[in-house]
């Protein structure tokens, strides 16, 4: 299913955005495509409210222990994942918060043809967020990247898209 993903900075400024589609499956309808950023931004308020609560989803554990930062085991990152935070017609919106208050948000579209509701696979969506979080922290470690500025690195973009292919649009 197609997804629209964005990282939103501390001042609600966009840091990074990407659309993940699978050429063999359906795309975002053009009229929806333009709406995606707005749908996401509408959800930010909900995300900020949720930030201060314990979300029922946060208990779930997933065991993705690969990569260099991820190897720092323990599950305290799992409560960064907020699960499904909002919906908009047939779309679901999920969110994830980093400790530096970076907001990771995503619009998930269902199958537009048969109008079936979106089912968010929490396990893979959560690991997607966690892996992106790790990539984000690595990007932050680059001395030439300044906190809260748009991420322009093609390496980051490539890796995020590879993750999406593996975990979301399969």
């Amino acid at each position: 299913m197609p997804c629209y993903f964005a990282i939103i900075g501390a001042k609600d400024n966009p840091i990074y955005e990407a659309e993940f589609t699978n050429p063999h499956l359906n795309q975002f309808p053009p009229e929806l495509k333009e709406l995606n950023p707005f749908i996401l931004h509408a959800s930010l308020d909900i995300l900020e409210d949720l930030q201060w609560q314990t979300h029922p989803q946060s208990g779930a554990h997933s065991g993705t222990n690969s990569g260099f930062l991820r190897s720092r085991h323990s599950s305290s990152n799992s409560n960064c994942y907020l699960g499904k935070i909002d919906h908009f017609y047939g779309l679901a919106i999920t969110g994830y918060l980093s400790y530096g208050n970076m907001k990771f948000v995503m619009v998930h579209s269902g199958n537009a043809n048969n109008g079936s509701p979106v089912v968010v696979d929490d396990v893979s969506v959560k690991s997607f967020y966690q892996e992106v979080h790790e990539l984000y922290v690595k990007t932050l470690m680059n001395p030439f990247y300044t906190l809260n500025e748009p991420i322009t690195s093609p390496v980051f973009d490539g890796r995020v898209r590879a993750l999406a292919k593996k975990l979301l649009t399969k």
């Binding site: 690595k138 001395p143 030439f144 990247y145």
Partner: protein, 202 residues
């Protein structure tokens, strides 16, 4: 000319092993350590501050890093000699081994490969497969051409070698950060100083 002209760059396997074991022991048992990530991030903050100060004039940044390294190298050699109590190197080949297997090992816990000897045996290269200074680093487009990100290393080597009476040119010829296949640091011996007062010391 230098004392190195007659010697073979590769000394016997036996002495190679002992130098490695000797350095491993110092690293493992006699060295206070800190997380390499902290070191990497701090160096990164310094370089990015210099890029801001010099308004991205990377030639000046390279030079400032070199000078900074030079000042460090002149003092680091004291610590090195005190720690290792190694005798004077009889040849440049021996120097290259001590630099790669001992100095780099003890200070940065990496061992660059030595190679690319000049035909007259007065210049060699250190190939840095691992470089703790540049983990995480991705050079922006404008810096990729001119900035030698790890140039501080050249200064450190220059300063340290000068303190043991070796006047060398030290410079990078390639860097994986710039898209090169290897990170190659060249050391070229100009002459052996004879009890001269080293430059910069009064």
């Amino acid at each position: 000319m230098s004392a190195s002209t007659n010697s073979v760059p590769n000394s016997s396997t036996g002495s190679k092993k002992s130098l490695k074991a000797f350095s491993d022991d110092i690293w493992k048992n006699k060295t206070a350590k800190i997380n390499a990530e902290l070191f990497t991030l701090t160096y990164g903050s310094i370089v990015s501050q210099l890029c801001t100060d010099y308004e991205r004039d990377f030639v000046k940044v390279n030079n400032q890093l070199f000078l900074m390294g030079y000042n460090i190298g002149m003092r680091l050699i004291e610590d090195f000699l005190a720690r290792t109590a190694l005798p004077r190197c009889e040849s440049l080949a021996k120097t290259s081994e001590v630099v790669s297997k001992c100095a780099f090992k003890i200070f940065l816990n990496v061992t660059p490969q030595v190679g690319n000897w000049s035909s007259s045996q007065d210049a060699f290269s250190l190939f840095l497969d691992e470089n703790p200074l540049s983990d995480f680093v991705e050079l922006p487009m404008d810096a990729a051409k001119e900035l030698w990100y790890s140039n501080i290393l050249c200064g450190v080597l220059k300063g340290a070698l000068e303190m043991v009476q070796m006047d060398c040119d030290v410079f990078f010829t390639s860097d994986v950060l710039k898209g090169d296949q290897t990170t190659e640091l060249r050391v070229k011996l100009n002459r052996v100083l004879k009890d001269e007062i080293p430059a910069g010391e009064d």
